[in-house]
Subunit: 103 residues, 2 copies
DNA sequence: AAAATCTTTCGACATTTCTAGAAATACCGT
DNA sequence: ACGGTATTTCTAGAAATGTCGAAAGATTTT
């Protein structure tokens, strides 16, 4: 999956907003069944316009996918994307430690 | 180390800025010997005031520590802090996957 | 204490991001 | 097609963030 730095920053910036981080955590816990926009809204108690705005951002960086189910929009987190971030951080931002511990 | 969500968001937001992410990666690679502000500046080629500003932000969230060595300021990344972020993401944002894979 | 080097602080501006009410749109069941 | 529920788009103000030149602050060397 290997993110490049610029992309990693974009993803990290998304998670850097507390509201969006809450959304993502909620969806992660929801797993493969995901949650509808309305369910998320009830849980987080934020205006629908604000929520919709954040979901759009999350969709744009590929962290969240939406799927229409008749009247309802089901939101799903993209686990690959999340893992890509963790991988990036592990690879690019934790690597130095061990090498230098010897020095 | 266990970050709480609000703190995690603050840290992630720092890494969400491309310039700051570059700074952190540089320091991670530099390891225990770190880098002076001037060395970082040469490497990234950004104005000192801008760099200083970002280093202050990074210091405020504990990602970077500075240590004066006579005329020079040496910057060191806090590996514990980085690991705490990775741990947080792994714990709070990847957890759902396995549980649900069975469903 | 003045010079030289390194780094930060100040101040100002531009840009982006966040938030949310109101209006519009989308889809379904009737 | 109408009514109802779900969600987005529009719009706009407020707040936060990013950028950088110029001046000021440290610290050592002379």
């Amino acid at each position: 999956m290997n993110l490049e730095a610029a992309n990693a920053a974009r993803l990290l910036a998304q998670l850097g907003n507390e509201t969006r981080l809450r959304i993502v955590r909620l969806l992660v816990r929801a797993g493969r069944s995901g949650m509808t926009v309305g369910e998320i809204q009830k849980e987080l108690d934020i205006p629908n316009s604000t929520l919709s705005h954040h979901l759009t951002s999350l969709r744009h960086v590929g962290l969240v996918e939406q799927r229409r189910e008749s009247t309802v929009l089901r939101c799903l987190v993209d686990y690959d994307r999340i893992n890509a971030i963790v991988d990036f951080l592990t690879r690019e931002c934790c690597a130095g430690e061990k090498e230098r511990k010897i020095l």
